[in-house]
Symmetry: C2
Subunit: 403 residues, 2 copies
């Protein structure tokens, strides 16, 4: 039985399945008789010595964690800077680790977290403190380097494709006398992965979404509006999916275009969908509806992808395995073996190859006209939304999530 | 075997289960060997003599209709006026009915459709044309008179409660360093039924949603913001659910407050959630997120309520039964027999008691402070979101909806 404590922390935007990873970590550690502490609110909990002993969780609670969205121990948006600039904070982390005999540190997050885990491991080595740091992948943005995909993305992708397919049926039914254009805003500030996933909702050119706007392509209003009009004329209605991060040719975020004040001088919160909807209404004169699912898309555990859930569990289990085996400064990443049938495995990759990198969509995933996805994108995306993993429901008709 | 044709039409905003009603209508009529025509785009299809012979649908397609959201035959937002003002149109309807030997007219919609069905039945009587008109209830707004609830509402209510519970877990996890307030905008221009359903997401006063804004109560900005701040101080974060139709003391829609132009002079589409979020940000200084699910909430067949689905099927079957039995100018309504265990039956109610009435929430359903629901509201709402009725999924990982 290894001696010492394992510390687990969640970081950044949470997902529908990050708690599944937590559940797998706790279960794997328990089976090895290793104590797991969880930091409250990510790295903040370490800095504040605010740690939760997961031994207080019953086996049933640990199991329920796997079907509960959000971040059960709290997350945070705190990025540590370089070892030089934030040295005091890094030293504080080591101090707390020592106080709790932490020998294994699992940081569940994105690029920033991988960077932090890497730096902590470097400082521990410098101080001669025996610590194994493992980054655990998580992000709905799907923008981590090396790994084929990121736990959390598949479920958000499934939510997106399902929602767009459903809303499109609504628009089609209403279009003769009412709404002709529907705009859906997907998360994705720098990479259009979720907007691309919406493309799975349809196949042919007349299927919704007929237009997808990617942050990887400059937004050209005149061209966009012309495309919308063409689709409305041909199909009778048009569904647009826009990444929140689209920018015009000058690099200005379209979401900021509407920023400003309303008629009372109050802050007017805009966004991409509201702006595009306004332009469609003003210039084309069509009745338009728009949706901004915001947090709903990343917390929708009720429509999670089974594939995504399995990967979230697998990276948690493997992270414990790597940590206890002393694989330092690595991350369990997903390696795709084949598209169809979809096969994947987990491998350890060095954090140095992942930290602070950002993976955008390959150019070959975006259709030449810039408004849709290619067959290659479908081959990549489709396996990630396969399977349903419904949570149990309580007597109240609602998912029985851990409170 | 009765002689003649049955005409079915969908009207107004579509729902996750209106096609289930259509499916039940077609199946019930087929079992009685009655031909069913469906009007394309509701009453417009009758005016334009644009009717679909549902005999072209295979048994498998009729079955698939029951798990497909949207309006398969097209809907419309066209309200006929009084018999005097729109006499030519009503006469045109009868003319088309006669041309297709339509003896039974089933109009699937809300208050307006009940009114149209009633007037058509009156004109038919005046002309001595043998026609039986049946209104079939449908609306996510749950505002039809007489019936205990409306098919379509239960599924939208379940979507709302599930989504708010999920998003709340996200906000709770992020609140320490990021988002402290989340605002969710629910449909409901005149009645707060869907916002009330969000109340099912939590039980205690610290559970989300901590604040619900109903159109039945005047919106008081200062009082609202004070409540938000109190909740943030006590809980650490706050989830607000707002009906799109809330108005201030002077009767002005809050959604219109943000209406105006952005900094480029373009139309700025606002809405309640974006406005409230802006005020929280400006006045309280909290980081805020907001969601506008729009059509997603009424087309979310993937998370439909089983109870709602069963009622949607039942009103379809009963509508055919009433029609063929010659029950003219009636609607099959849902009568609640008991809350727990939940028991209900279908009865025929005269359209004259339903047409043009609008049912708002009983005052006893809104908590005294105006920001939550009462135990009576829970007893009423809870049975309506019971049970899951998942659609089948295809090899693409998406619901296998009828195209």
């Amino acid at each position: 039985m290894p001696s010492g404590t394992l510390l687990y922390a969640q970081s950044g935007g949470v997902t529908a399945v990050i708690n599944a990873t937590a559940s797998a970590v706790i279960q794997a550690a328990r089976s090895r008789k290793v104590q797991v502490l969880a930091a409250r609110n990510g790295i903040l909990g370490v800095l504040n010595d605010d740690l939760i002993d997961t031994a207080s969780l019953s086996a049933a609670q640990v199991k329920a964690l796997a079907h509960t969205p959000g971040g059960a121990f709290g997350s945070c948006r705190v990025k540590l800077k370089s070892l030089e600039a934030d040295r005091a904070k890094y030293e504080r982390l080591l101090e707390v680790f020592k106080a709790h005999d932490v020998r294994w540190f699992l940081y569940n997050g994105g690029n920033d977290s991988a960077d932090t885990a890497l730096k902590v491991s470097q400082l521990a080595a410098e101080f001669g403190y025996p610590l194994t740091c493992v980054g655990v992948p998580k992000t709905i943005d799907n923008d981590l380097a090396v790994t084929d995909c990121c736990p959390g993305f598949g479920s958000a992708a499934k939510y997106t494709a399902v929602s767009v397919r459903e809303a499109a049926l609504d628009v089609a039914a209403m279009s003769e006398t009412s709404t002709k254009v529907f705009v859906y805003e997907a998360m994705g500030r720098h990479a259009g992965w979720l907007a691309a996933a919406a493309g799975l909702a349809g196949q042919g050119r007349d299927d919704a979404p007929q237009i997808i706007l990617f942050p990887e392509r400059a937004y050209d209003e005149a061209d966009f509006l012309a495309h919308v009009e063409t689709v409305v004329q041909r199909v009778g209605w048009c569904v647009v999916v826009a990444s929140e991060g689209i920018r015009d040719a000058s690099g200005k975020f379209v979401a900021d275009a509407g920023g400003g004040s309303d008629s009372f001088g109050h802050t007017q919160l805009g966004g991409v969908a509201s702006h595009l909807a306004g332009r469609v209404k003003d210039v084309l004169g069509h009745k338009v509806h728009w949706a901004l699912p915001d947090y709903l898309q990343r917390s929708a555990r009720h429509i999670a992808s089974k594939t995504d859930l399995e990967q979230a569990l697998a990276v948690g289990r493997k992270a414990v395995e790597y940590a206890l085996a002393g694989h330092n400064a690595v991350m369990p990443v997903i390696v795709r073996e084949s598209d169809a049938p979809y096969r994947w495995r987990i491998e350890a990759a060095p954090l140095s190859r992942i930290a602070n990198h950002e993976k955008t969509m390959p150019a070959g995933f975006i259709r030449k006209d810039g408004y849709g996805i290619t067959a290659a994108a479908r081959r990549y995306l489709s396996p990630l939304i396969q399977g349903e993993a419904y949570p149990p429901y309580g007597a109240d008709g609602l998912p029985a999530y851990l409170p």
